[in-house]
């Protein structure tokens, strides 16, 4: 039986890795992820987790150790944030290319500069095209549940890809809140030992990661693209099995009061719960509004999103980005949502806003302002206002 516990979200995530019985942890401490790897180091030192904790001098080496260990057939976990992920970047791309199913808990934090230890989504968006399965949690329970599910998804023989679980730094990592924690036995049943298909073995030597000459590189990349697209059915299977076992249902795209809504706010991460609170306020005023959460970021849930947004009551989408695509189409989420709807005939208008950069709180009134921007676009019939490419920051000090 799961036990309702008041626990820091970081500790719950580390406990998920322990319950998954990881073989190797390699990480370099960085705020706000630090409590996760500290707790794992403690578990290993105390003999409560039979794993190798590989201490390293940088995140680049941490991810290198993770890829190496995974290539040798180990179940591997790491965690990082912001500059740490940026420093890993070279090997992050290798992890997916080599098909090593490393699980990463990413405590989302802004990228420098100026130096910010606080939350936004610029770190994950910088890794958007690295080929990892990428999922967002919006509270502590989801961060714990999804970390557990990440091992099942990534290590599935039909997938064999690394998985990144995103959760907002500080806003979630440093909060104590109620989380239903499973018994170890339940998780041992849900996550059986990892059985690698191909792995480095001195008795049966193979080569992994050789040069891909022009004659083979294109095919290798095509295979990788096919693999991540096909991972979608396994993600749904794992979500289904989790719901069947434990009663909590996860979907690639989640909705809140969107069934008869005309205007929806679309976002990722912990802001979704606050957006829902704003929806409740506006619903009380008789406004037909809702919220849409893009939980699955990679593989991108094209069909799910179209099903929610196209040919329905929704006439206007307001996309909230927590990151700026400098000189580009405002934010990466806006860009992808518009792109996904491009060929649809019966589709809503889409406007983008940016808020909550570098740890700035987004207040309830500011979510309401985002809906007002949507209302204005809908009223004037102008998709994104007078200046469609101008970055609209809500909560900006003038």
């Amino acid at each position: 039986m799961a036990k309702r516990t008041g626990i820091e979200v970081s500790i719950a995530i580390a406990e998920a890795a322990r319950q998954a019985d990881v073989d190797v942890v390699s990480a370099y401490p960085i705020t706000p992820q630090t409590h996760i790897v500290e707790h794992l180091a403690q578990l290993v030192a105390d003999g409560d987790l039979d794993a190798n904790y590989i201490t390293v001098e940088s995140e680049h080496t941490a991810m290198s150790a993770c890829v190496g260990a995974s290539a040798a057939g180990a179940r591997v976990f790491t965690s990082t944030s912001s500059q740490g992920l940026a420093l890993m970047n070279e090997i992050v791309y290798l992890a997916s290319s080599l098909r090593t199913p490393v699980v990463m808990a990413l405590a989302n934090r802004a990228l420098s500069g100026p130096i910010s230890i606080w939350n936004d989504h610029s770190d994950v968006m910088n890794e958007r095209d690295t080929g990892w399965i990428c999922i967002f949690a919006n509270n502590g329970q989801e961060a714990y549940d999804l970390t557990l599910m990440a091992f099942r998804i990534g290590e599935d023989k039909r997938v064999m890809l690394p998985v990144m679980i995103n959760f907002d730094g500080f806003i979630l990592t440093h909060v104590i809140e109620p989380i239903y924690m499973f018994d170890d036995d339940e998780i041992a049943d849900f996550i059986p030992p990892y059985e690698p298909v191909i792995y480095l073995d001195t008795d049966n030597p193979i080569t992994m990661g050789p040069v891909g000459v022009p004659d083979i590189y294109t095919e290798a990349k095509k295979q990788q693209e096919v693999a991540i697209r096909e991972s979608r059915s396994v993600i749904d299977e794992v979500f289904d099995e989790f719901a069947g076992r434990y009663g909590r249902r996860y979907r690639a795209v989640e909705t809140y009061k969107a069934e008869d809504a005309e205007i929806v706010l679309l976002a990722q991460g912990s802001v979704i719960e606050a957006a829902e609170a704003a929806v409740d306020v506006l619903r009380d005023q008789g406004k037909k509004v809702g919220a849409v959460e893009l939980r699955l970021w990679r593989p991108f849930p094209f069909d799910d999103l179209r099903e929610v947004l196209c040919g329905t009551s929704i006439k206007q989408v307001v996309v909230l980005d927590r990151c700026i695509s400098f000189g580009g189409p405002i934010g990466p989420v806006l860009s992808e949502v518009r792109s996904a709807l491009y060929l649809e005939k019966d589709k809503p208008m889409v406007v983008g806003v940016v808020a909550g950069l570098g740890g700035r709180d987004i207040h309830l009134e500011e979510y309401i302002e985002m809906f007002r921007i949507g209302e204005e676009c809908l009223r004037t019939g102008k998709d994104a206002g007078e200046e469609p490419e101008l970055v609209k920051i809500v909560g900006l000090r003038e």
Binding site: R4, T5, G6, E8, P32, I117, W118, D168, F170, I171, L172, H174, V175, I176, E177, P178, S270, V271, E273, A274, E276, A277, G359, D361, I362, H363, L364
Partner: protein, 182 residues
Amino acid sequence: MVEIRFHGRGGQGAVTSAELLAQAAIKEGKYAQAFPAFGAERRGAPVLAFTRISDEVIKLRIGIYQPDVVIVLDPSLVKAVPVVAGLKEGGLVVLNSKKGPGDWKKDLGREDVMVASVDATSIAMEELGVPITNVVMLGALLKAKPLVNLEPLEGFIAQRFPRIAGKEIKAFRRAYQETRVE
């Protein structure tokens, strides 16, 4: 929902106070959050910690700007930081002070609020031998506002301070007895 802001100095355990309170509330089946002011902390510098307690799921994920309750762990902080900033009309201030609550109302310039005061530093020195008032001040808080039952909170205090659990709980109960509310 009740929103509580703790004022302390780095190293005094304000974050621990916020956490223990949330854990006790969660144990009672309520919803709660406890979190520090996000950022770097320095020993001795003014710090903040927060707790939210509610009967329903808490969807707020931002700092507490208009608390219902303010708790000040260190007597010197009242002059150093605006401790009653944003405190709701009719809210509660819990102070570590030898001075009575009536006098404090005038000094704080907030006749509308309820004030509780207790000489937490003396209690901590007598019972623990160190001027660490985080657990002591929770006793004062619960006297002024019974947010959680004493027993589950004492359980978490004992869990957090296994080697000095008896002393901490005695100090906690003394503060509960000695706190004056006006």
